[in-house]
Structures are given as C-alpha cells and as structure tokens.
Symmetry: C2
DNA sequence: GTCTATAGCTTGATAGAC
DNA sequence: GTCTATCAAGCTATAGAC
C-alpha cells in the first residue's frame, strides 16, 4: 500500500469529521466533504463505499484520540482518583466553554442515527462507550477501589449527563457539578472498599 | 378561530412529531409529513412558515406531555422521595425497553441541531430542561430537602446520562443504576438537611 | 384553507476516460 | 487513483386557482 493512498484517505476522513462534527452528519454532503478534502466525489467514492461507511471510519478514528485525551486528563493531576476525576471533569468543563465545542461526536451520531440500529456510526459509538466504561473500571481498581463495576458505570452516567447539559446550556457549572458528584461517590465507596483498607496497612 | 383549523394544525404537529422522533428531523421531509397528516404541502406551509418552526412547535407541545409523564411517575409510588425517584427511573427503564423508544426527543434535537444555536428546536429543548431542573428543586423541597439546587442538578445529570446510555446500549441496567445513584445521593443529603430535622420533631 | 403544479436546487451515487 | 460529466430522485418552498 503506497503512502499516497493513505494520505488521501486520511485527508478525506479528517475533512469529513470536521464537517460531521460542525454541521451534523445529515447536513454534511459528500460534495462538501470532497471539496474540503481537495478531491472529487469520484475519488471519495473510490476510497469509501458509502457515506455511512465514512461515518463509521470517522468515529473509529475519533475513538482513539478521545480516549487518549481523557486518559491524559485523568493522569495529569496528582493524588487519589477522587481528585483526579474532579480534574478530568474540570478540563472537560474548559473544553465545553470553547465556542467550537458542540457536544460529543459519538452521542451526536447516536442521537442523529437513532432510527438506524445497524448503521456503522451507531456501532462505533456503542463500542467507544463500552471501552470508556471498561477503562474506568481499570482506573478505579488501580487506585484500590473494589468492586469497581457499578462505580465505573456511575462515572459514565455522570459524564454523559454533563455532556448533554453542557450542550444544552453552554454552562460549565453542570460539568463541574458532575465532577463533584463523581468525587463524592468514589469517596463514599472507598470507605466500603476492603482492598483500600489493606493498602492502608501497607502504606 | 374555527375548530377545524386547530384540528388540522394539531394533526400536522402529531404527524411531524412521529416522523421527527422515529427518523430524525433532517431525515423527515415536509413531503412525508404532509402525506402522513393527510394534507398537501401547500396546506402544511399555510399553517407553518418553515420546517424549523414546525420543529419548535412540536417540542413545545412535547414539553407539556413529557413533564406531566415524569410527574405522574414520581407521584405514583408511596414513600419518601428517595424511593419515588427510584420508581421514576424504573418506569423510564421500562420505557427504554420498548423497541419504539429512541431516546429523548429534546436531546435528539439538541444533538442534531448543535450547529444551529438559534434554531427554534434548540431553544425549546433548553427551556424544557430548565423547567425539568426547576421541577426537581420543588419536589426535593416538598420532601424536606434543603438546599435542593445542587441535588436537583445532580438528578438531571443522572437522568440525561441514563438516557444517553440507554440509547447506546439498549440496556435498562444503566437506567436502574442511575436511579440507585439518585436515591443514594438524596439519602446522603438528607442527613445534612436542617429542614428535615425540624420536620422530624414535628412528626 | 385547501388544492394542483412546479420552480430551483442539492442529494448520494455511478460511468467511463486516462 | 484521480478526473469530468451526469444520473434519477428528493429537497424546501412558492404560485395561483377555487
């Protein structure tokens, strides 16, 4: 596979992603995507069988960068996970203040494509959120919280709630409130965590 | 204003709402809406200036029925608000199991129309969620929880998180988990509520 | 208030040359 | 792998009769 092919393909995905995110999937045409990528529609259809497929590839690529981003946010602060979760939500709150922020690409796609269960974009969005939840389980366990499954689920619930409210009201206070709630829940759970008590002896 | 005019207008809004909810706003055409309502496009445009306006009127009508529904759910169970919130989330969980359920119409609209801040549908969705939050404040206060503002905000965060997760995974467990979290948070807050202690003396 | 008819444009996707 | 050219269908919205 020659390098140029990949460059064109990536350029198309980037252009498509920008339009899908800014305008919505249905409101972005293949014409606009091709134009922004600097190719013709024929080239676009050479690389992607359909618009639906293109949406799927976009979200699969976005999955990697978004999860890497949250991982960075959670690990760029010191202390226990309570404090680091609060920090992570704080960084999200900052992001939502940017006028270019328009919600979560996965939630946007899932809502816009709610009537099409088998759509590649819907499948990619589901997969992304499942990975996100599994990641929270890992992070909570790494900080000595056990069992972590239910608490991880509560974290994704708060995160998605914060994203919806921020999209509606453009008010970072909702995201901060979600972060405080997340920290409160972890704090309360820690007292019940046997693993933590063992760590306490070791420390 | 003659009765027939209102009947036609309502029939159009109903038909539009069904299509907007099932297929999405952009994927529903004025042609389909007119056909489902049993009128021609010309009649449709006689009653509504544009498709955007029609979206706004649909959500304004939906606001009333959705809030009445949640009010019913919260009041159709006995006991303190902790238990009644759990019951409310339980009813929502049942609803999300219905294959016709495709998320929240307001969240769907806000996500699909994220690039159009002044759109009538976006404004209606914002207004709806603000009313919802204010209603939670009332209900918490009526049960002796004070202050109620932050807790009410946490309730809408959990509700919106539950809706997004249920839309993605079609798994009622997320909604039940949100309900349990809501009950836990209220339970923890009640111990700090001075008003409750006073009620305790009075009871 | 409702109809038939249509303007004017854009859509996703394809044909065939090179 | 990329191009020019184009398809058939669908879109929002409007004109003018009754």
């Amino acid at each position: 596979m020659p390098a140029k092919r990949l460059a064109t393909r990536d350029r198309i995905i980037t252009a498509a992603g920008e339009l899908f995110y800014d305008e919505g999937i249905d409101r972005s045409s293949m014409e606009q995507i091709a134009s922004r990528a600097g190719v013709t529609k024929r080239t676009l259809y050479y690389h992607f069988r359909s618009k639906d497929d293109l949406v799927g590839f976009w979200l699969e690529q976005l999955d990697k960068s978004v999860r890497a981003n949250y991982r960075l946010w959670l690990h760029s602060a010191p202390g226990r996970i309570e404090a680091r979760l609060r920090h992570m939500f704080g960084r999200l709150a900052e992001l939502t203040c940017n006028p270019r922020w328009k919600g979560c690409g996965f939630a946007r796609a899932a809502n816009e494509l709610a009537g099409l269960p088998g759509h590649p974009g819907v499948i990619a969005a589901k997969t992304h959120r499942k990975r996100f939840e599994a990641w929270f389980v890992e992070e909570l366990r790494a900080d000595g919280i056990e069992p972590a499954e239910r608490l991880a689920r509560r974290m994704v619930l708060l995160l998605d709630g914060a994203i919806t409210q921020a999209l509606l009201h453009h008010d970072p206070a909702y995201v901060h409130e979600a972060g405080d709630t997340a920290a409160d829940l972890v704090h309360a759970a820690r007292r019940l965590s046997a693993t933590d008590r063992v760590d306490g002896f070791a420390a």
